[in-house]
């Protein structure tokens, strides 16, 4: 298997070994071992659920630092559309872009512009029979990986277009290297991200060979600086608006589907909700829907684990930006004429498979069921697995043992204790002197 890189990682010092994260993980990728959470990398899809649910903030996304922009001659910031929802709406989108630039970048380019190219191409693909319907958006990297792992039958439905981030990075690289008269690799492109999965999408991309983005900086990392910078931000004539309300709208759930002319769309947010909808697509039970927008975070990217503002407040602000953007036009001609199709194939992941041999796998399933029947069925999580069934599977996979279950352990102790009592009464004849003396 190719090298796997995960953005979501554990801060061991903060982890208390509680069971909150193991229970909410949609791919059952976390176990508690030696009193600390442990992420099974092959199973993690970087959805960020555990980051949201951990009461001790022990889960974090590994991303890049702002200092990294110093490694390049010129650095360009690529704010995700959700960036606009993070700050008070008295500041216009243009002001926000200038303030972002002023914290140390040499230019800004809106990811919303790339999003609009994706929308235009999606619209075209919906008109032809060449693409399998319902088409499932590939905008959310966690969703793409969820499909690889849990819904391999839906791989053909994925809209195989490069992401707005990637397309915008390609456009920004061309535009600014020409503008500054430097070579394309002297230019650093930095995605300003609400999303942990985008870090993985850059370092270990799906569908493309290499990402055009050099670094991913969390919105939360630059939030304070932009806030400060906004106070002394004046309008300038050099910073441009790159998109209209369509691209800006991509930040929230429903934005991508509202950009399409067809009403036969379905927008779902929250990873557990997505799983339910995908189950229905697999059963062929969703009729008359041609496009599915699925975003892993509640309220879409506005609810991303690396965003700062409350997702509903951010949503309200975004609405105002979209209103304003309706009367605005992109001030720069798109550098690319259309969105780019994936160059690389996508494969199902095999982590759920129990064995390469069907008969051995069947035997393992029977073993799992047998062990599970014998477990208490309380799904308490004290064993470090999310539920009894997962423990049974772990035992069969050889990464856990039955006595990891506290109830099983207690049963064994009790058994042992009663055996000891039994043994206690059976003293060797040579030791039973008191009785003999009495006789």
């Amino acid at each position: 298997m190719e090298e796997f890189i995960n953005s979501v990682t554990l801060d061991k010092d903060k982890c208390k070994g509680c069971t909150n994260c193991i229970k909410t993980c949609p791919t059952e990728a976390i176990r508690v071992r030696n009193g600390k959470a442990y992420i099974i990398k092959e199973r993690c899809i970087d959805c960020g659920e555990c980051i949201r649910v951990c009461p001790h903030h022990a889960k974090k996304a590994v991303a890049d630092k702002l200092e990294m922009i110093g490694n390049y001659q010129k650095a360009i910031a690529l704010p995700a559309p959700s960036f606009y929802g993070q700050f008070p709406s008295e500041y216009s989108r243009k002001k926000l872009l200038i303030a972002l630039k002023n914290i140390g970048f040499d230019g800004v380019f809106e990811v919303a512009a790339g999003a609009e190219l994706v929308s235009a191409e999606t619209e075209k693909r919906l008109q032809t029979e060449n693409f399998k319907k319902p088409m499932i958006s590939s905008a959310c990297p966690a969703v793409v990986r969820l499909i690889q792992m849990r819904f391999p039958g839906l791989i053909d439905n994925i809209l195989k277009l490069e992401s707005p981030m990637q397309i915008s990075a390609v456009m920004a690289r061309k535009l600014f290297s020409e503008k500054f008269g430097i070579s394309e690799n002297e230019l650093g492109i930095f995605f300003i991200s609400p999303c942990a999965a985008k870090v993985t999408a850059v370092k270990s991309p799906i569908g493309i060979k290499k990402s055009a983005v050099n670094g991913v900086i969390p919105i939360s990392e630059i939030y304070g600086l932009v806030h400060e910078s906004l106070k002394n931000t004046e309008d300038d004539n050099q910073t441009n608006i790159f998109s209209s309300d369509i691209g800006v709208g991509w930040a929230g759930s429903g934005g991508e589907s509202n950009a399409l002319s067809s009403g036969k769309t379905l927008a779902v947010d929250g990873i557990q909700n997505i799983i339910k909808v995908f189950e229905q697509i697999e059963n062929d039970k969703i009729e008359n829907v041609v496009f599915i927008e699925a975003l892993s975070c509640p309220e879409g990217c506005l609810g991303g684990p690396l965003a700062v503002e409350n997702r509903y407040v951010a949503k309200s602000r975004l609405k105002q930006h979209m209103e304003e953007a309706k009367s605005e036009k992109a001030q720069i001609k798109p550098v690319l004429s259309k969105a780019i199709t994936w160059s690389e194939p996508i494969f199902p992941s095999s982590v759920l498979k129990l064995d390469d041999d069907v008969m051995i796998a069947l035997g393992k399933i029977e073993q799992i069921e047998k062990i599970e029947k014998d477990l208490p069925g309380l799904d308490c999580g004290a064993c470090g697995a999310p539920n009894c069934k997962a423990l049974a599977e772990d035992i069969v996979r050889g990464i856990a043992k039955e006595t990891d279950c506290v109830f099983k352990l207690r049963e064994r102790v009790r058994q042992l204790a009663s055996e000891m009592i039994e043994l206690e009464s059976e003293l060797p004849h040579t030791m039973n002197r008191t009785e003999k003396n009495e006789n």
């Binding site: 849990r150 391999p152 039958g153 839906l154 791989i155 189950e279 697999e282 059963n283 062929d284 039970k285 199902p348 095999s350 759920l352 498979k353 129990l354 064995d355 390469d356 069907v358 008969m359 051995i360 796998a361 069947l362 035997g363 393992k364 399933i365 029977e366």
Partner: protein, 140 residues
């Protein structure tokens, strides 16, 4: 080791909340077996249709899924009214589902033809007044 594994499911009449659970659990097993997505899809769609037929028309019944090395056999038996004219029931769009069920988006016909389309083999045994048994075979 056994040559196959059988899973048995109860199918409850008009229970739309747990309807589909049998096919969901079969789907999960097929994924653990590493069966190809295309085969899983066919198995799940046909089993789901058959399960829903038993829920809507058949007054509930039992489901059996038997996993072999190279195929799966799904049997859905119900104790319903039986099918008077199997040939007619095999026609797309033909339905005997009552209006209230159709309003829920189920029972628009297509059940049996859809199962036939997705399976490698389909056997239908039905006796009016006694019930219907479907045997669906899907090769890996």
């Amino acid at each position: 080791m056994n040559q196959s594994m059988v899973k048995v499911f109860d199918i409850q009449k008009d229970d739309f909340i747990s309807a589909g659970e049998a096919s969901s659990s079969v789907k999960k097993i097929l994924k653990q077996l590493g069966v190809s997505p295309e085969v899983i899809k066919r198995a799940v769609i046909s089993m789901y249709e058959a399960e829903m037929n038993a829920v809507i028309h058949g007054g509930g019944g039992k489901g059996y899924a038997e996993f072999f090395k190279e195929h799966i056999e799904i049997i859905i038996e119900d104790n319903g009214p039986g099918i008077e004219n199997i040939e007619l029931a095999m026609q797309e769009g033909y339905s005997t589902a009552p209006g209230n069920i159709r309003e829920m988006g189920f029972g628009a016909g297509m059940g049996l033809p859809n199962i036939k389309k997705h399976s490698d083999q389909l056997e239908i045994k039905s006796e009016v007044g006694k019930g219907t048994t479907l045997k669906i075979t899907i090769n890996f």
